[in-house]
């Protein structure tokens, strides 16, 4: 699943019956786009690659999502996030002779968590898909880009994939190569989010990608290595009306296992039954984890200046797998203040008994 920032916005607008005000943020009105005329994710599909890496403009929303934990040889650690969103503003392209005319808007959210300094840098960018300014393509190679920010594969869609970002505060130049095969999430790639039919997305991941490259920040350059997680998802609508947010975990264990789990929270605060995850063993075998198999409890909170409380330490238990962990933010302040603000940041996983670190990963929390 993943960042349903857009879907969340949809929901927020649906709830908010007040007239649009000047202060309303960009994401709010993105939710105002009607579903009609877009395709819906109603049943499992036949995925084909590399074609499905490319955009699916028949659906309203789509994203390419990379998160990772890397470090240089001295153990200087970073977390990073690079997300490209495609937003269909209308099902059809407006009729115009002008090459600027488009119904496709692209948005990028990028972030770098400087863990020793406990500094979180982030930036948002919006670009229309016109005159080659932004888009996705699968010609010489697979590429998604917003101006000079891009994810670009080697020839065809071969690895390594390059993640190249020149932000205001930092520069990422990373090469990603899959260390495990692609995983179809949900039910053969159909990830049901709400109870309603069609409130679902198509969702697949590369849960473990060997990562190396350079990070420049604070006028210093770091040669880094580590692991990244790549998510791909497209949908037209996802959340039900009574779902207010979610907590999404992507954890990469030192022993070669990977684990993804999301819980959708209802207005009551309860986790929705559609919450689920996947345990991906070192050999690539996948085990479905349902909501009933999981005990998930926040145990420590951090409050931002707006007064929103985010759980930054979680107790995570999967009795069926005999796992018992503490999932801890590397540092609390990893807010994405980009329109709709959400918490997304690097975490570490400690064994609940030995208190030894067993994994690193990323956590995303919305709707708090």
């Amino acid at each position: 699943m993943r960042l349903m920032i857009l879907a969340l916005s949809l929901f927020m607008v649906a709830c908010d019956k007040q007239p649009q005000s000047q202060e309303m943020e960009l994401q709010d009105w993105l939710g105002g786009i009607a579903d009609e005329g877009f395709e819906r994710a109603t049943e499992p599909r036949q995925f084909t690659f590399p074609e499905d890496h490319n955009a699916h403009p028949g659906f309203r929303n789509e994203w390419w999502y990379v998160t990772g934990n890397v470090a240089d040889k001295n153990g200087y650690e970073f977390g990073y996030q690079v997300t490209f969103f495609r937003i269909g503003l209308s099902p059809d392209k407006p009729k115009s002779d002008s090459p600027w005319a488009t119904n496709q808007l692209w948005m990028a959210h990028i972030a770098l968590s400087d863990i020793p300094k406990q500094r979180h840098h982030h930036q948002q960018r919006l670009v229309r898909q016109a005159i080659g300014l932004a888009g996705s393509e699968l010609e010489q190679n697979f590429r998604v880009w917003l101006e000079d920010w891009q994810i670009i594969s080697s020839k065809g869609a071969d690895f390594p994939w390059k993640v190249q970002i020149k932000a205001q505060d930092f520069v990422l130049d990373l090469a990603l190569t899959k260390a495990k095969p692609l995983v179809l999430q949900g039910q053969q790639g159909l990830s049901q989010k709400g109870k309603q039919k069609g409130n679902a997305s198509y969702y697949y991941s590369y849960p473990r990608m060997d990562t190396s490259g350079t990070i420049k920040v604070n006028k210093q350059s770091y040669s880094v290595k580590g692991l990244s997680w790549f998510d791909r998802e497209w949908s037209t609508s996802a959340l039900d009306d009574n779902q207010v947010g979610w907590d999404w975990f992507a954890l990469q264990f030192d022993d070669g296992n990977d684990f993804m789990y999301y819980q959708l929270r209802q207005t009551t605060g309860e986790a929705d039954v559609t919450s689920s995850g996947k345990w991906i063993a070192g050999d690539g075998s996948v085990t479905e984890i349902s909501k009933d198999e999981v005990y998930l409890q926040p145990i420590d909170y951090w409050k931002n200046e707006k007064g929103e409380r985010y759980p930054v330490v979680w107790q995570f238990e999967i009795p069926t797998l005999k796992k018992k962990w503490l999932v801890k933010a590397r540092f609390p302040e990893q807010m994405m203040d980009t329109g709709v603000s959400y918490w997304e940041g690097a975490v570490e996983v400690l064994d609940a008994v030995s208190k030894q670190r067993v994994a690193k990963g990323y956590l995303e929390m919305t709707g708090y």
Binding site: L30, D97, P99, T102, R128
Partner: protein, 840 residues
Amino acid sequence: MLPPMSLLRSSIRFFRQHPWQFWLTLLSIALGTAVMIAVDLANHSARQSFANSIDNVSGKMTHHIVANSGQGVPDIVYANLRLAGMRQTAAMIEGDVVIAGEVFQVIGIDPFAEPLFDQQSGVSIEPMLMLQLLTEPSAVLMAERTRQRLGFSLSSELALSVNGKQSSVMLQGVFTSTNQAVMDNVLFTDIANAQQLLRKTGFLDRIELILTEEQIPSMAQQLPQSVKLITSPTKTQALDQMTKAFRTNLTAMSLLAVLVGAFLVYNTMTFSVLQRRKQFAVERLIGVTQRDLFLQMLIEAVLIGLVGALLGVFLGALLGQALLMLVMQTIDDIFRSTDQVAFSINVWSVVKGLGITLSAVILATLVPAWEAAKTQPVHVTRASMLEGRFNQVLKPLFFIGALMGLFAFVVLVVFQRSLIGGFFALFLMVIAYSLWIPSLTVAALAILRPWWEKMGTLPAMVLRAVHSSLSRMNIAIIALAIAVSATVGVGIMIGSFRASVADWLAMTLQSDLYISSVNDAESRVEGKLPESWLSKAQKLPGVESVSSGYSTYVEVEQVPTPLLVLNPGEHGKQGFRFLEGGGEELWQDYMAGEVIFISEPLAYHHDLNVGDRLLTKNEQGVSVSAMIGGIYQDYSATQGMLVMAPGFYEKHWRDRGISSIGLKLTASADGDQVRQALRALTEGASTAIRIRSNKEIREVSLAIFDRTFAITNVLRLLVIIVAFVGVFSALMAVLLEKTREFSVLRATGMTSTQLAKMILMQTLLIGFLAGLFALPLGWAMSELLIHVINQRSFGWTMERVFSGWVIFEAIGLSMLAALLAGIYPMYRMKKLIIREGLSA
């Protein structure tokens, strides 16, 4: 030494007994400060508001990329810049359309591209509308205020014409703007819609970008040949230059108001010393030192000055708002719409105003304070004490005045090009002249005496009365003379300026009809016209000859400077008045590309002469050197401009085109018919076309000129009011002092009417003398304003035009001010109760 409080109490007691004096002093300080601060605040607010709103639209862009020729800058040039990570770039496409008979500027925007609609932007568009701009192919937005004015409803279809072709758009919504003045007739639409509507598919008018010094060479290199990089001719700059002329003159006027105010302070303080001589003598007897008295006077002055100045700040803020409206009227003539501009109190203006006022007050008090300190305890004072000394100081004053005059001259010569030097010399001259006025008054009275005394006893008495109170009356005369001279000087300057501009317009507009694109009002860069029109226009019946021009910018010493590539045709050569030389041979050299011409301001600012070489750069950054063949008179561009022949320009630049065509008609031609033929010819052009006659251009230009200087008339009046207060207070003071004398006159048989007549004549005499003395000063001031201040500010020279009316106006104005100031004292004296007066 006495405790300061007791001295202060003595001051308070004095002013309690003489409330008139106190209030008038306060009023003159307040008025002087108010005028100065008001002008400053109005100027500042106007500039600030416009700088803000203009930066909102065009951003703080340093450079433009424009097309050398053809339809415009291809979209791909912009895309490549962005893909190379250059985000400080904005794609601009704009054009004029007509809706309901009004010209609107359509601006195509990419709502998501920075920096146009970032948070600093003054324009705010609701997010939903930003989205709809993309998805609704014909959506446009206009300012709410404009929508209301024209009575359009939301989501309605607007019929419009683009270059004469009918089309329609959808009024999707409105935007709000922190300043709607420049947004009144603006339509925002998506860049795709703008391209479609203005028939510029695939092209931009320009790309605006921010470049650092280091980026410029590589940027110029990497651009395709079809486009060029130019320095941004920002609208802020254009506004600054256009309004600089009158802002400079306003500042000069406001400083004169302070000077007049300072003389009033001097007057009141001197008078208060005079009145207190007895009191000071007593104070000295009981042990008050000279230093104490000096301090007492200074403290008194500073306190009154402070209260007056604060009052002035308050008054100035009110007055400033009124002035701002006048300033805005001028600026609205340059931009095309009117709106309220936020009036803001600028702390620096206030501090500056307070500082100048207090300095003036302290300076004006030094002499009276010194006078007070010199009071001897044993001295049994006589009222005419000071008058006796007056004659002794005449010569030293005259001498000091002469020295200061000389100093002013030296300043002018030494600081040849300094504007501040020019202002300093102006003030030195005013003060020098004011030091001569006492001597001039004595001389004038001596000349008048034989003639005047023949007129009867009463006039003779009047003359003697003025003579006997010269020390006080002179200050009133000086204040009034300075005020009147300021109006004379500024009046002559404006009159000369206007006459020169009118003359220049008549000369420079040699063509009968001009064709240009509509948006030339805002920047000198005009849209291009098809070159084929030139030969077609030449063939029209009634056209004698055709000239053509292309307006663009080139850099001269890093300053973007307007360039006119001119083919003068048969008639255009008469449109130039060279400061030296000229003639057919020069024009032959010009057409052969051997020389270029530069305007007088450019020559002045860069110290260039005929025969010098001017260095500039072409679009590739290659230096171009040109011989200056002539310097011509021009009032259109304050920073100056260049004129070169097409042959020369095309040899060094890749850019081609024409942006205006001038038509000289035959003597028998019917202007309207030719106009119609031109309309037909220009039908369907890709830009909006304007055809104007030289008469229209001349009238519009002069109307703008007149409105520009309307505010100076208000200021002249204000200076006169300050002076009026001066005359009034001087008269009141003298009359109050002479109450006893008048009572004696009344007791010995003079009727109250006779007394009133005497006072009336006295005031008229003062007014007459002040008006007379104002003339030479006003003339000298106008010389300085014309030949020093204006030239140093703008590099313009102008012919001084002096009308005989000025003499009558000055003396009439002066006598009227004196007369009005005399009415109340006259009334008071008429009511004089003899017994009370005698015992006073």
